[in-house]
């Protein structure tokens, strides 16, 4: 991804040169493009992405905000935060022999990532088959990966027409922006470059007419007075000078300024990644996962709700009293499954069993959840983005859910 930004001119030559030199010193020259998005010392010295990195670039028809999400198991919560804000996703898989297999086997991350983004409402996916240069641009290898992944993604619920596979090499930069020059690849590949794929994604419809909601993703001190929060406008629009309600704290605040990508604007619409400056509220009283919303139509706040969940491939069954971590937008909160209402049929959604004793893997069910602190949720049928959530236990995602009723 870093290389893509560099080629598109988002990173200047001088900085790139600096990264190259510094990464060489650490003996990790191949990470030089990764450094564009991984900025903390910890991330650079370990050579992995830990938190979501944000950047933007332009294609022929679109302005794209890029969220670079971590892939490592321990940082999935961060990845969920990123994925909740995404419209489309690009899945990068390693084509090196053995590497793809470890990622794709039962315990691997590739499966979990694909399932996660699908459950979070992303339905267009670009699959980048990376490092194809290490296997000599072998077509069979590419086809093998396409075959395996394609079957799996169809099972996960992606439509075939919404998934595009692209062969490329991130380090050498082949087939990222410019059409490939590598002859071995040209022999069999005539498809689009990565940039074309991104350009071809359909833009989703934005719920601009709905009441304003913005989920807080980050809080930081900005320049000047007040403090800034950043996040994505989920629905509606926001203008400078608007009064907003901060939920679940139930406090009023005034929007002092709105910036999109460090440029001041007066108004932001649903789908925009913005940072807004707030006043009239203490910085301590806002935390990640809170929602800014319209004062006249505030978001419901609850600590008990009913939801329809899809249970993933889990090792131990879910019973009443299971404590889980609820991931909703940027929020992660401890919650307990207080009631198993009914087990549903996988495809028809009919009730198979009322009040089941436990839920086994790959089942659908209606459950009741209680969170330890009040959270902001919307019914799925009202606002899709704010009605989805994930349940995780012990570093594994166990279920994805939709809010069906708020008590």
């Amino acid at each position: 991804m870093g290389h893509l930004l560099y080629t598109l001119g988002q990173v200047n030559k001088k900085t790139m040169h600096k990264y190259e030199q510094e990464s060489k010193k650490l003996g990790k020259q191949s990470f030089m493009y990764a450094w564009i998005l991984d900025e903390t010392g910890e991330e650079r010295s370990r050579g992995i992405t830990m938190d979501v990195g944000q950047s933007k670039f332009e294609t022929h028809t679109k302005i794209v905000t890029l969220l670079d999400a971590p892939g490592h198991k321990d940082f999935i919560p961060n990845m969920i935060t990123g994925a909740t804000q995404a419209d489309v996703a690009i899945l990068v898989v390693d084509a090196t022999r053995g590497e793809f297999e470890t990622g794709f086997e039962m315990e691997g991350q590739t499966r979990e990532h694909a399932l996660l983004v699908r459950s979070l409402g992303v339905n267009q996916l670009g699959v980048v088959v990376n490092k194809l240069d290490t296997v000599g641009w072998n077509q069979d290898r590419f086809q093998e990966i396409v075959g395996k992944l394609g079957t799996f993604l169809r099972q996960a619920g992606f439509r075939e027409s919404d998934v595009t596979f692209v062969p490329c090499s991130g380090l050498t930069g082949i087939n990222l922006v410019n059409p490939p020059t590598e002859e071995k690849l040209l022999e069999w590949y005539k498809g689009p470059t990565l940039l074309d794929v991104i350009d071809n994604f359909r833009a989703p419809e934005r719920p601009i007419t709905k009441p304003f909601r913005l989920s807080v993703n980050d809080i930081f001190k900005g320049t000047g007075s007040g403090f800034c929060i950043s996040g994505r406008v989920e629905t509606g629009l926001v203008e400078t000078g608007d009064k907003v309600l901060v939920q679940p704290q139930n406090e009023m605040a005034v929007i002092k300024a709105v910036t999109i990508d460090d440029v001041h604007t007066s108004i932001a619409y649903a789908g925009d990644q913005v940072s807004v400056t707030l006043s009239g509220i203490e910085m301590q009283n806002v935390s990640v996962g809170y929602i800014l919303c319209d004062t006249t139509q505030p978001i419901p706040v609850t600590s008990r709700f009913e939801a329809r969940i899809v249970v993933f491939n889990i090792k131990v069954p879910i019973t009443k009293g299971f404590s889980v971590i609820l991931h909703h937008q940027s929020l992660s909160e401890q919650a307990v499954i207080t009631k198993l209402v009914a087990q549903l049929h996988k495809s028809s959604g009919e009730v198979v069993k009322r009040r089941p004793r436990c839920l086994v893997k790959n089942s659908n069910a209606v459950v009741e959840l209680t969170t330890s602190r009040p959270v902001c949720l919307e019914l799925y049928r009202d606002v899709k983005e704010l009605g989805r959530f994930m349940l995780r236990v012990g570093g594994v995602t166990i279920a994805a859910g939709l809010v069906t009723q708020i008590f």
């Binding site: 950047s55 321990d74 809080i219 009293g321 570093g395």
Partner: protein, 384 residues
């Protein structure tokens, strides 16, 4: 806890005198004392005397009171046990039948008279008086921006401090805020550890987190310790253990206690035993659902068939005010033991106990599958 004397007759009626020695003993006492019991303990009362001329003097007097307990209060943070009830023994300072409140104190004897000492309470006295069961462990579960500092003793998990802080994320060209926030967070956690963990008592301190937060924190803490010449930390460096956990929430303690490295260190503490038992229950539920049941009704049925291998029961259930209910649970425990089953009484203060409480407080692993139990359940559902 020290047992001073014990006088229980055949029918189970009698008096036991105990001296609590540690805060944890208060928790045992809380589980022993039920409504309607008589407790005799010494306390301090302020007594006002009025002389013949009308001037009054007040003095503090230590006196021994005997009350019939009506209200029991336990403060988990301070480990204080407060009993309220009517005085049943008159002395020169207090009248018969007056309401009094007793605070049980550490290192002061109290005697407890029960109309019936059942097997569960007698066992509780035995475990409380067993000095080998002491093992204190400090544990810090953390993730970026959230940390819980806990103390784990054999029957209690106490959250001493919760640190919840907002750390700005990394942003383009503005990494300093993130790093500053992180350092401030580490500083707070370190202060929390120094304030709440008594290094003389704890066997080891576990630092658990996802990713590299634990390593970063460990490094930071000892850098600071060297800088400020903090002897306590440096001397106890060997006691720290780094373990993986999936999050900074309290229930990840369960994962920590499952870690082989931790198990070997804290070996047979009750906490890790409980976690393992609960885990085996869940595994059974997955593999052979007809051999794992929860809920009093199912478990009782299984007992009738002498099918129970391991019974897990939360001590919360024994604290019910209703004598009949308690008797029901005690009979259950007794009959399981009689047929050679294993009974594990979970402490509701541990994370595993909390989970069991949510799961109706009672669960059992069976020797042989009893699928008929499940079917019966469906029938009773339809009736409703």
């Amino acid at each position: 806890m020290k047992l001073v004397h014990r006088n229980v007759d055949k029918d189970g009626e009698g008096v036991i005198a105990l001296v609590p020695e540690e805060p944890e003993d208060m928790w045992h006492a809380y589980n022993l004392i039920a409504e309607g019991d008589c407790v005799r303990a010494s306390t301090i009362r302020k007594v006002q005397n009025e002389s013949s001329t009308g001037s009054s003097t007040s003095s503090r007097i230590r006196t021994t009171l005997t009350i019939r307990v009506e209200v029991i209060d336990f403060d988990t943070q301070a480990c204080m046990l407060r009993l309220k009830g009517r005085n049943i023994e008159e002395n020169q300072y207090v009248k018969m039948g007056a309401y009094h409140t007793l605070d049980l104190e550490v290192n002061r004897k109290f005697s407890l008279q029960k109309p019936e000492w059942d097997s569960v309470s007698l066992e509780r006295v035995d475990t409380a008086c067993d000095p080998t069961q002491n093992a204190d462990v400090g544990a810090v579960v953390m993730q970026e921006g959230l940390a819980h500092i806990c103390l784990i003793t054999s029957s209690m998990t106490l959250v001493r401090a919760k640190i919840d802080q907002c750390i700005p994320r990394k942003r383009k060209g503005n990494v300093q805020q993130h790093e500053k926030g992180l350092l401030r967070f580490f500083e707070n956690v370190m202060q929390g550890i120094l304030r709440h963990v008594n290094f003389d008592i704890v066997k080891c301190i576990i630092i658990a987190s996802p990713g590299f937060v634990k390593d970063q924190f460990y490094e930071y803490m000892f850098q600071q310790a060297v800088k400020t010449d903090n002897k306590i930390l440096l001397e106890n460096k060997g006691k720290f253990m780094l373990v993986h956990a999936s999050s900074g929430f309290k229930h990840s303690l369960k994962e920590v206690l499952m870690d082989p490295a931790v198990i070997s260190k804290i070996a047979d503490t009750k906490a890790s035993g409980e976690v393992r038992a609960l885990e085996s229950f869940y595994t059974m539920l997955q593999t052979e659902p007809a051999k794992a049941f929860y809920g009093i009704k199912h478990v009782e049925r299984a007992t009738e068939a002498q099918a129970i291998e391991t019974l897990m029961i939360s001590d919360n259930l024994f604290r019910v005010q209703d004598v009949k209910q308690r008797k029901r649970y005690v009979t259950l425990v007794d009959s399981v033991r009689e047929f050679g089953g294993d009974v594990k009484i979970f402490s509701s203060l541990h994370v595993s106990g909390e989970q069991l409480d949510q799961l109706t407080g009672i669960a059992a692993l069976l020797r042989f599958p009893m699928p008929e139990l499940e079917d019966e359940d469906e029938e009773s559902d339809e009736e409703k």
